[in-house]
């Protein structure tokens, strides 16, 4: 029993590298000569390796379990859609910034023009038989907000009928939309000079807006006060509202 103990411990020390070099050399000689000791050594070595393999397998299994947990971990809503949310936030910020820049940079009188500009639907019926085709095309382009093309046709028609108040009014509006305010004012004043024109009240309003667009406060105020004073004027109420805006209240 003592020898067996001793041999087992020697094998153990030999395999675990706990034996000194000299002792290890002597032991190696013994192994070479003693078949039964060699057999014990192989068996012991196999046991050690099996123990280590078993431990490594347990460890690997734990890592595999951990990997399964990580790989199958449900992705939170915020994590899953974080890029989409970031993009949306960026878009909102951009829109906000654009609005801010527009508000900060756009002068007050221009903002008022945008705010008070009426929607002109154009004419649904043909006004004149001889020129019906051209007027219809010009009106159609006006309604499609193709103001440049529409203006070309209205200018052509006005060359033939320079005093036609309808043509003058829509020609003026095309100029207004194209920011050609001087031309628009000229045409609107011509409409105002036409007695009994159905476009007079609208022309006064658009002329007031046209002055406002060019920051001609005094001219615009004067015209608006006239509109406000006229009971039953199409833009009577609107003129009152516009006149109490900060722009007109300040000097």
């Amino acid at each position: 029993m003592i020898d067996e103990y001793s041999d087992i411990e020697k094998i153990e020390q030999f395999l675990l590298g706990k034996m000194g070099a000299e002792e290890a050399a002597i032991f190696e000689n013994r192994i070479a000569e003693d078949a039964s000791l060699r057999k014990e050594l192989f068996a012991f070595d196999a046991i050690l390796k099996a123990l280590r393999n078993h431990d490594s397998e347990l460890f690997k299994q734990k890592l595999r379990d951990r990997e399964m947990l990580i790989a199958n971990r449900p992705i939170s809503f915020f994590r899953k859609y974080r890029f989409a949310m970031a993009a949306s936030l960026l878009l909102l910020l951009s829109i906000g910034a654009a609005i801010f820049v527009f508000s900060a940079r756009t002068p007050l009188h221009e903002k008022l023009v945008v705010l008070y500009k009426p929607i002109e639907p154009g004419l649904p019926v043909l006004m004149d038989n001889s020129d019906s085709r051209s007027i219809s095309d010009a009106m159609s382009l006006f309604q499609d907000e193709k103001f440049e093309e529409s203006l070309l046709l209205f200018d052509g028609l006005l060359a033939e009928k320079p005093a036609n108040d309808t043509l003058l009014f829509f020609d003026a509006l095309c100029n207004f939309e194209l920011e050609k305010y001087s031309e628009a004012q000229k045409k609107l004043e011509m409409v105002l000079s036409c007695e009994n024109s159905v476009w007079i009240e609208k022309s006064e309003w658009w002329l007031a807006l046209s002055f406002l667009s060019q920051n001609e406060k005094a001219k615009s105020r004067l015209l608006l006060q006239k509109i406000e004073a006229e009971k039953g004027h199409l833009f009577n109420e609107k003129a009152g509202q516009l006149l109490v805006e900060d722009y007109f209240l300040s000097n």
Binding site: E4, Y5, I8, L15, L16, K39, E40, L41, F42, A43, F44, D45, A46, I47, L48, K49, A50, L51, R52, N53, H54, D55, S56, L58, F59, K60, K62, L63, R64, R66, E67, I70, A71
Partner: protein
């Protein structure tokens, strides 16, 4: 200095048979390694995850076998380096599969069939030992695990079990003798190498 402390923690974890420190390490660097592996080698996420797992196992085994006693880099660098080499080996293997001309069999290199046979015998012996280990009681397995894997002294084990050191030595001897008999019984003609 910081790497020494980390290594110390891992060494203590191995010595106490506690794997949780390694699991934390695994969770800590896994995603970063996968990103690193995918970018540097072009391997898939699964391949990178496998390589990282193998790197952690290698770290664990190296600490357990006392092959890693000190580190001159951080634990992270150590793991990433092993993982990177695992991926490079994988790429090399893949290219060998697709290019048979580079295979040693085709190029006429000689193979030591004798050593392959001996290796096979050793593997069989280990396999048999593993099967026999399963028959041990949990106390017996625990004793071997603590002494040979966790490197605990007989005195520590004896103190915890409340028995003498000599009694623990005898128990260990009995278990080993039992195992040895069972293993040798099936491999009388074994001539393998260690």
């Amino acid at each position: 200095m910081k790497s020494d402390i980390s290594l110390q923690i891992l060494q203590q974890a191995v010595a106490s048979g506690n794997h949780s420190a390694f699991e934390s390490l695994y969770a800590l660097y896994r995603t970063e390694f996968i990103r690193f592996g995918c970018n540097k080698t072009g391997c898939s996420t699964e391949e990178c995850a496998d390589a990282f797992q193998e790197a952690i196992v290698a770290l664990y085994e190296n600490i357990r076998e006392k092959r890693l006693l000190e580190l001159h880099s951080s634990i992270k660098t150590y793991i990433f380096t092993i993982g990177k080499f695992k991926l490079l080996n994988l790429i090399k293997k893949k290219s060998l599969h697709s290019n048979f001309c580079s295979h040693e069999l085709i190029n006429g290199n000689t193979i030591d069939f004798n050593s392959m046979e001996k290796k096979s015998e050793t593997d069989q012996l280990i396999y048999r030992a593993a099967e026999i280990l399963k028959d041990l009681s949990s106390d017996e397995r625990n004793l071997l695990q603590r002494f040979y894997i966790e490197d605990q002294s007989l005195k520590t084990i004896a103190d915890e079990l409340g028995i003498s050191e000599g009694a623990v030595r005898k128990r260990k001897f009995d278990v080993l003798k039992k195992l040895s008999k069972k293993i040798s019984g099936g491999f009388l003609s074994f001539t393998g190498t260690l």
